[in-house]
Point group: C2
Chain length 114, copies 2
């Protein structure tokens, strides 16, 4: 997707400090952090929203969660805890239409979640 | 897990209105809803926290997200949007130590997510 900022980040066309990368996903810091650790995990594959998940790519979300949990452990926040968030469309607060998982940690997260 | 309320719900020992069920997961309404639609998707298998995901069960999270997206569609909120949230341990705000995914929809979700 030529105009997708997350595709450009995944391909390396926009340079970011990658915290993790494998064949399926890339992780990097959110530019507007809402917690001491605020990381985004995105797939290399362009999938616009959670509504576009198919049987073939549903397991990607599981991998994204596993990577987020690994990063939480790497930064020393696994035991204290963290929150994972995915937003879909306007009501969900989705701002970039390439699915991404937010990892937030390093502070007490409040309820409700937005 | 004898004392786990979500294990009891999954087994049917505590009756709830199940919105969805298959061999892997059960979905039902949160008892303290934070949005017009606030559903929990839980696995039948007892997994205490996201830190306890293993290579073998990581894909469960993908299935939980797919089920949540299906429920959002069923209630007519897929296009307007929704938020998926998973909490781990104290800082994440986890209250029941059997992993669960929150689906929140039917209102504008705010930022930050708690």
């Amino acid at each position: 997707m030529d105009n997708c900022i997350f595709c450009k980040i995944a391909k390396g066309d926009i340079p970011v400090k990658k915290l993790y990368e494998d064949e399926q996903v890339v992780a990097f810091n959110d530019v507007n952090p809402q917690a001491p650790t605020h990381v985004l995990v995105i797939p290399h594959t362009h999938i616009a929203t959670l509504n576009d998940l198919t049987h073939d790519n549903q397991y990607l979300i599981g991998h994204m969660a596993t990577v987020a949990a690994k990063i939480a452990k790497d930064v020393g926040h696994a035991e204290n805890g963290y929150r994972l968030v995915m937003n879909c469309n306007q009501d969900g607060g989705q701002s970039v239409f390439h699915i991404h998982m937010h990892l937030l940690s390093g502070r007490q997260m409040e309820w409700p979640p937005g």
